[in-house]
Amino acid sequence: MKKINVLGLITFFVLVLVNLPFLVIIPSSFTAAGYLAFPPEGFSWQWYEMILDRPEFIDSLWFSLKLATVTAILATFLGTLAAFALSKYKFRGSGIINALMLSPLTVPSLIIGISALLFFTRIGIAGTFTGLLLAHMLISIPYVVRLVLTGLSSFDYTLEKAGYMLGAHPLRVFWDITLPLLRPAIVSGMIFSFLTSFDNVTVSLFLVAPDTTTLPLAIFTYMQETLDPLVASISSVVILLSLVFIVLLEKVYGLERLFGLNSQSH
């Protein structure tokens, strides 16, 4: 007789538990009833059609996608440059710069959000795209720096030297040798930044205005007043979109490696 694996059972239970929210949201978005129910009653696309009648969700979805894309590109660019300097050159103060780059992870989002609101109000960019972009870049850069630094720690600089010796231009060496070797780290930094921005609520909460609202916040606000299957259908859209990026991240870098890096922070 096979012995029952207690650890396996508990693990299965926990895995069901952490995935339960998605297991109930997606089915209940297809309900034919006029109210939120699980298990759903009947089948219909009506709550998905309803999204199209709600400009606040459509507009905020576009806004979130735009914000996350620009955040990902700029944060990856800035973070990669800084990581290059930290890895390639030994200089005085590099320890301090390194600590500073990672510092936004050690401070609660609550404080980052409030302080950004105070400062942005004073310089007049509170509630604008620019304000949200700067704040989202700030919370994404630490991840990029960590990922690229890890990528660079195993980087063989003799390959660059070989390129120079063969007479290649520094830019050519960078483009043809350095960049391709670091591509997994840079690409995953970019995807992770995208997800960080796309999912964020805690910092955005302080920085949005009625016409510059991100999707998670539109859902957050709607949820506090009404709980109907519309929240389920719009959430399912977000789950699906996030899932695409999560699978991509798993393929490019591996989630385990990624989280091993940031398990000390939030």
């Binding site: 508990i10 710069i97 004073r122």
Partner: protein, 280 residues
Amino acid sequence: MSKRLSVTLLTAPAMILLLGVFILPMLMMLMLSFQDENQAFSLHNYSLFVQDPYYLEILWRTIRVSLWTVLASLLLGFPVAMYMAQATGKMRGIVTMLILAPHLISVVIRNFGWVVVLGEKGWINETLISLGLIDQPLRLLYNELGIVIGLTDSFIAYMVLAIATSLYAIDPSLNKAASILGASRMRTFFSVTLPLCLPGIIAGTTLVFSLSMSAFVTPALMGGTSVKVLPVIAYEQIMATLNWPLGAALAFLLLGSTILLVTLYTKLIETKRYKEVFAS
């Protein structure tokens, strides 16, 4: 190009962002928290916290909810980490993926899923009523229990990872040695595995505690309006009451108490470990 110039050019953009959007605003916030209505220096916002039992009660609730969250994630997360450490390549990968992926989907959405499950007309209550086990719906949401469930779901991944990482590092031959020397599996666990993964447990518990203390989306959505924690109060002072100095002070008090508690905890454990080492 000189080394100095390269370093400056490469780090400057990120450094400007960090100093301008993070360090400077935080200093401004700190200064603001020491201001009264007339913008004069005052400790009023901080002394209010000690004088008014309302705030102390809320701080105590925040700590209580966080401690329950730590306990729940430890009890549920430890077996998962053990399982991951014993599992072979493919299975370990699947478990890792299933525990981490939810973490990359917005907390608002995960909380909404829990509302569907735990609500008054939610899945659990409807099922129990239709089975005739209860007459009145159970109150699983909009109380401290709801917050603890939501926070545990949010942060258990950190606990699992911290413990699993320390378990991976244990040399398997140690377990073998213990059993060769005649130790039972129970004994091996308590004398070999547990002490060796203690750093992982400490890291996991402190991390989950700190995250729970400053969480406010889950408490706002799953705790409702009657059960408030300190981050929610700070948020309301900033966004609703518009008393920014008080809101800023509350946020710093929260951070201060979290750091204090975490330091005490790690000190306590370290001392105990030294005693164990020198006593034996």
